[in-house]
């Protein structure tokens, strides 16, 4: 294989050149730029010279630590408790701000905490928002990848039938993909508003019993609302990929299975699904990568709020690099995202390899 690539086949390389050239120019070179910039203190706008700062940017992003806080005690040494009987704790900021006894926690903030006995274990990080964005992104991928892929397959099976007017349904399901995600996000902002369309419908169907929440303004529902909208928007795209996969399966196999008297489920399980193997791998990897790149919905609908419940890694990279003019910090986030997506893709490739 290798010898074939390197020896003959000049025409093949000529054909590959435009693609390889563009990929190198717009993806490989910028990546190396980002990697290099993440080791400096490069700013978007600054008359100051760029300096090499080593791994400082990564340290600022990733520093994390556990702080054990003992409950406050009164003069007799008994633990002070509030009305509900829970122990009271000194505030985290008393450890992390201007406290010479705890220099290792300086400038850190609380991410979350748990209790062991009467002590509180507080996870503190230098950049809490980055950790939250990492968690939000992973939660988004974990839900969107399987649900969107599965739903797209169901839709593809539905529209892969010879019915009158089936093209109308194909068009309807595919329509959201054609509309710009920015426009879709703006529209869904109206749908999700507290007195918006969704809550009006829910209220009408429950005869006024159901008081709809403020979907995008509530920490508990904001990310879920964006997941639902994102799944709806891009499901048509993956439906088309599944559809093309379905149509590569030879009709003779279906004929044979019906002659053998296979049930609908057996046909799907032993004919359709094995025939879709390569398509499934493609769909899974594409959805995962698209989900990791979640940005436009956040930028238009929530700006990462409320309370960082919808902030994502790409949103952070843009916010840092452009909004706060910290190109080196944004680059560091991009490099981390690249490594993350690369490792997950490799794991997926390994799990779905030909056995």
């Amino acid at each position: 294989m290798a010898s074939k690539l390197t020896t003959s086949n000049r025409a093949g390389w000529a054909f590959a050149l435009p693609g390889f050239g563009l990929l190198t120019l717009f993806i490989v070179v910028p990546f190396f730029f980002a990697f290099f910039l993440s080791l400096t203190n490069q700013r978007l706008i600054s008359p100051n010279p760029t300096e090499f700062v080593g791994l400082d940017n990564y340290r600022n992003l990733l520093s994390i630590s556990v702080l054990t806080i003992e409950p406050a005690r009164d003069d007799t040494g008994a633990v002070m408790r509030d009305e509900d009987g829970n122990p009271e704790y000194p505030r985290v900021r008393s450890f992390t701000r201007n406290n010479p006894d705890y220099p290792q926690y300086a400038g850190m903030r609380e991410w979350f905490r748990w209790h062991s006995g009467d002590d509180a274990k507080v996870v503190v990080a230098t950049d809490v928002v980055f950790w939250k964005s990492l968690r939000n992104t992973l939660m988004f991928v974990l839900v969107v990848a399987p649900v969107q892929g599965g739903l797209a397959l169901v839709l593809a099976l539905l529209i892969n039938q010879k019915l009158r007017g089936i093209n109308i349904y194909r068009a309807i399901y595919f329509m959201p993909v054609v509309v710009s995600i920015v426009v879709v996000s703006l529209l869904w902002r109206f749908i999700y508003a507290e007195d918006g369309l969704l809550n009006s419908i829910l209220s009408a169907f429950s005869f006024g019993m159901f008081e709809g929440p403020d979907w995008l303004g509530n920490e508990d529902t904001a990310l879920g609302a964006i997941k639902a909208m994102s799944i709806w928007q891009a499901v048509g795209f993956h439906m088309v990929i599944w559809l093309s996969g379905l149509q590569t399966i030879s009709p003779t196999l279906y004929e044979a299975s019906s002659v053998e008297g296979a049930s609908k489920w057996q046909t799907f399980r032993y004919v359709t699904w094995p025939g879709l193997r390569n398509t499934a791998v493609l769909v899974l990897i594409v959805i995962t990568m698209q989900a990791f790149a979640l940005f436009a919905q956040i930028d238009v609908m929530t700006n990462g709020g409320p309370l960082d419940s919808t902030t994502t890694v790409v949103f952070q990279a843009v916010e840092r690099g452009y909004g706060k003019q910290d190109i080196s910090g944004g680059s560091a986030i991009s490099v981390i995202l690249f490594l993350l997506v690369l490792s997950i893709s490799l794991i997926q490739r390994y799990l779905t390899r030909e056995r």
């Binding site: 203190n41 700013r43 978007l44 706008i45 600054s46 008359p47 100051n48 505030r91 985290v92 900021r93 701000r97 400038g107 903030r109 609380e110 809490v128 902002r189 109206f190 508003a193 507290e194 007195d195 918006g196 403020d214 979907w215 995008l216 303004g217 920490e219 700006n303 709020g305 409320p306 309370l307 960082d308 916010e319 452009y322 909004g323 706060k324 003019q325 910290d326």
Partner: protein, 420 residues
């Protein structure tokens, strides 16, 4: 192809134009207002008048959408491709001047003697930009609402105190006259937050950064005054006086007119629409005084000359030309901005003495306070915005302000103090 007389004539005419232009120095100008039809017509008129007024220079205008204007300037600067004349948002100017994108203006000082304080962009003791207009924010209220609730009408000399303001909100909330007592415009993001809300913080006695040195935010943004401001700010949302960050942008635009909100904290640019929308007893009230005096934000878009301009005399000449009262008045009549001089205000229907919007001119004249004049403001503004949104959404006030202080201080440090 046979040339028709018209095409031939056009060809002759265009070559004639080109040769005439070759004798002049070309000046390029970028403007942020693409898409605004009236605005575009006025700025084009100024350019045409200037080009016709003399034979040394010819200005060519290029407009950008406001959202991508700053990015375009930054990209052009990195590529060494800046136009000669730019317009710049007042609080952003120090950043660009510090970065070496702009050069000080050399216009005749006497021309801008009467200009509103907020329209003069001064950094490092030098004038870098000058605005043809300013903007001001006021508390919109209906006279009928004030009467129904039995509230005193505050004036510039005697604004509401913080307690009076909260009593007004309480009365509005209890009256069921509207869904929310106050509309703060939380649907708008970006520069609106520091522009519209940092005056409240200043009225409590805090600030975004310590203006005596511009080297730290410690004590200014997380001192006792700032904490009091933060608690008050949070209470506006927990007590449901105001609608939070998920406010529907459409409500922001028409909510006050429709009666959804009793009071609205909004800029002069919305005043004409409010009057046209049928609220003919609207009152534009000054900001409440929480103890440290009452101020409002100042500085809007301003004109400046890029550092790389080959013909700065020409660029300055154009800016001097544009500072004529008739153009200031044209912008005011066209899109409702506050004219920079009293004489221009007298020429307009809305801002002249006794005009419906004259109060904004006085607000801007007497109370306007520019946002921190520092290259670091661009980052501090972002941090401030996020802190206020988080506090509105229920975050711990002290922790949030501490984190904001840390972020601002780290940024100042990493930029070597921003040249102060």
């Amino acid at each position: 192809m046979k040339l028709t007389p018209t095409i031939a004539g056009a060809l002759v005419a265009s070559t004639g134009l080109v040769s005439a232009a070759a004798a002049q120095t070309e000046l390029s100008m970028w403007y942020h207002g693409a898409g605004g039809e009236v605005e575009g017509a006025i700025i084009r008129q100024i350019v045409d008048d200037f080009n016709a007024s003399q034979s040394d220079y010819a200005v060519t205008l290029e407009s950008f959408p406001q959202e991508s204007y700053n990015d375009s300037i930054v990209a052009a600067a990195l590529a060494g491709n800046l136009p000669d004349i730019i317009d710049v948002d007042g609080p952003v100017m120090p950043n660009w001047a510090w970065a070496g994108y702009m050069q000080p203006l050399s216009i005749d000082e006497s021309l801008i003697e009467d200009f509103l304080p907020g329209t003069k962009g001064v950094w490092d003791g030098q004038l870098y930009s000058i605005g043809l207009w300013d903007a001001a924010v006021a508390l919109y209220a209906r006279q009928s609402t004030l009467d129904a609730l039995g509230l005193r009408t505050p004036t510039l000399e005697e604004p509401w105190s913080g307690d009076e303001f909260m009593a007004a909100l309480d009365a509005a909330k209890a009256s069921d006259a509207c869904e929310y007592a106050l509309d703060l415009g939380m649907a708008w993001t970006g520069e609106w937050y520091p522009y519209a809300f940092s005056p409240f913080l200043q009225s409590f006695g805090g600030d975004i950064v310590d203006r005596s040195t511009y080297q730290t935010a410690e004590g200014a943004l997380n001192g006792d005054e700032a904490l009091a401001f933060g608690d008050w700010w949070q209470s506006l949302f927990t007590e449901r006086y105001a609608e939070g960050t998920s406010q529907d942008p459409a409500s922001r635009d028409t909510g006050f007119i429709d009666g959804k909100y009793c009071f609205s904290w909004n800029g002069n640019w919305a005043a004409v629409a409010t009057l046209d929308g049928g609220v003919d007893d609207v009152q534009f009230l000054p900001a409440p005084d929480f103890g440290g005096g009452n101020t409002i934000g100042a500085a809007s878009w301003q004109f400046g000359v890029s550092a790389t301009s080959d013909a700065p005399e020409g660029a300055n000449a154009f800016i001097e030309f544009a500072l004529q009262d008739k153009y200031l008045a044209a912008f005011t009549d066209g899109i409702g901005l506050i004219p920079s001089t009293p004489s221009a205000a007298a020429m307009t229907e809305t801002y002249k003495e006794g005009g419906p919007l004259n109060v904004f001119f006085e607000l801007s004249n007497q109370q306007a306070l520019v946002r921190p004049v520092s290259p670091g403001y661009v980052v501090a503004a972002k941090v401030f915005e996020k802190a206020l949104a988080d506090i509105a959404n229920g975050a711990d006030v002290a922790d949030t302000l501490d984190a904001a202080v840390d972020e601002i201080n780290t940024d100042i440090e990493r930029n070597g103090g921003y040249g102060h």
